[in-house]
Amino acid sequence: MAPAERLDGGAEVRLHELTKTYGAVVAVRDVSLTIAPGSFFTFLGPSGSGKTTTLMMVAGFVHPTRGELFVDGAPMGGRPPQKRDLGMVFQSYAVFPHLTVSENVAFPLQVRKLGRAEIDRRVGEALELVRLRGYEQRLPRQLSGGEQQRVAMARALVFRPRVLLMDEPLGALDKKLRTHMQLELKDIQHRLHVTVLYVTHDQEEALTMSDGVAVMRDGRIEQVGTPSELYEAPASRFVADFVGDSNFLDATVVGPAPAGGWLCRAPGGLEFRGIGAGSLRTGQAITAAIRPEKLVPAEEAGGTGPGPGHNVCKGVVEEAIYVGDATRYRVTLGPEGSLTVKLANRLAVRPLTPGATVALAWSPDETRLFPRSEA
């Protein structure tokens, strides 16, 4: 095993009202964040949400129109990329095609004018870290995508930056390899204790890898939180939709429920309770979000039937889609539309039969209510 020297911990990265406009177009607006030292932080969002622009501002390739950036308290404004000492991995890997693997990895050390022996030692360590020993003399075109990715990683880590920036680094890999690299990446991050700023549009990737996630939309931060916070308590309909799958039911607030939360009524007469994301008032139009796996057939919900406080509805099973570890059912309720139900494929769980009528139960605590004006 390589003597993977721990860095003196990663650095804290603080973004203060970071804004970038291109003419009239606002690419990033007022992004303020504090990223804890040594944490794995992800900017998640669809293309055009400003996540890459934000990362490029941290790297120094894009100059913020407004706002400030601090690494361990030191202001980075006006400092060119080459003076920031941040490791960076690009989606395209950006491995230098005319240099061998070890020359690529040695590059950041050579430009820092380190001694020959020191360079050799550190390059060896870095290649050990990404398990590319024996590839020293190969040229990038002789490597697979995953191997090039490792070269890029080794090269970004070899000069021991305290912050590592990664822009969709696994985007070009196939699913299997991506999952594998995700684990390795996490492992390396843990061992080196480097602060990672990661950009991806893949919510699954963001959830599995991150300590913290900022969901971005139209240049703004929609929500910041841990993966479970984002999944269990999305702050907006957009987050509920983008992070994981959600069922959406349009309804109107009837009033505060005695047991807590809000009572709502859907157009078809279905009544249910939920937790408001933000402040609600009686009569307000809302959209309720329910995760497909939180819906269970009523008779399973508590062994004998739904618990006292549970929401219940009835519907007809339209279709069943087998997806391996689970089966997804589409259940039509009536005027309210239909719900997707995800049931694990376990012996204890009885599959639903298409055409049958089924009663579904779910917890009010797992029902998020969003004011509908926000669309």
């Binding site: 390739f61 960076m88 230098f96």
Partner: protein, 282 residues
């Protein structure tokens, strides 16, 4: 090779057929005529070649042709590389505008442009008048009808070829590589020397080769802007065809020019390894 692969190959070969036919009819056939004529004068003979090798003047002309071509190539590279580099780093829209300026000379004939230079460089031309007026030269400098004139004229005409070749390669360099180099801590000079320059070498190789080969066969500019002592091989061929009507001799000169060009190309490929450079990209 599978059947599918073989069909794929066949398709590419078919696509080559028109070009090959064109080359065959318009290049190989006339060329074989020239080769034939160079060794046939009332029966097969190598007299023409013997004459070229035997008379020092002819050897000198050939040597001068290569020397001039090499100098022009170096001048084009020295002037063209910084220009292409600047162009490649400009925003695409601005770069396109500047590029129009670079290729604008192509819209006028070489003869007109060469005459323009003659007007500029003549004894009473703009350049000499300015230099004299500013007191930078005691009198008119000999800028025309000598090697300086030939070099200026040829470099001017051939510069766009160099710039275009360099530019296309430089534009093709992935910007992420440059950003990566900066991100890894390299200074501007280090990024240029270690990353940009090596990656632009295919352009340097292609551009210098193109300009050098074009220079070897140059006729109008050296004929108009050079003196009697600056005769190049193309001018010699023209004289043999037009004035002395010694077609066998002219053909032999043409064959020698072609052969030397090929030898130069092979030698260049040996040193620069064009194939490897072009393969190493991306």
């Amino acid at each position: 090779m599978s059947v599918a692969e073989r069909r794929e190959t066949l398709r590419y070969v078919l696509l080559l057929v028109p070009a090959l036919l064109l080359l065959l009819v318009l290049f190989v056939y006339p060329l074989s005529g020239i080769v034939n004529r160079s060794v046939y004068k009332n029966g097969y003979t190598l007299d023409a070649y013997r004459q070229i090798v035997g008379v020092p003047v002819y050897v000198q002309v050939i040597a001068r042709t290569f020397r001039t071509a090499a100098l022009v190539t170096l001048l084009c590279l020295a002037l063209g590389y910084p220009l292409a580099y600047r162009l490649a780093t400009l925003r695409p829209r601005t770069a396109r505008l500047v590029m129009i300026v670079v290729v604008l000379p192509f819209f006028t004939s070489v003869i007109v442009r060469t005459y323009a230079w003659m007007v500029l460089l003549g004894r009473t031309g703009l350049v000499n008048q300015s230099l004299t007026a500013l007191g930078l030269a005691p009198g008119p400098l000999p800028l025309l009808y000598n090697q300086a004139g030939v070099l200026v004229g040829m470099t001017y005409v051939l510069l766009p070829y160099m710039v275009l070749t360099l530019y296309s390669v430089m534009r093709g360099i992935d910007g992420a590589l440059i950003r990566a180099a900066y991100g890894l801590g390299a200074s501007r000079l280090q990024v240029f020397r270690r990353i940009f320059l090596p990656l632009s070498l295919p352009g340097v190789a292609g551009g210098t080769l193109l300009v050098f080969i074009l220079s070897l066969g140059f006729f109008i500019t050296p004929a108009l802007m050079g003196g009697p002592a600056d005769m190049m091989i193309a001018m010699l061929i023209e004289r043999e065809v037009e004035i002395t009507l010694n077609w066998a001799f002219a053909s032999a000169l043409a064959v020698i020019l072609l052969a030397l060009t090929l030898v130069g190309f092979v030698g260049y490929n040996r040193i620069i390894r064009l194939d490897r450079i072009f393969e190493a990209r991306g």
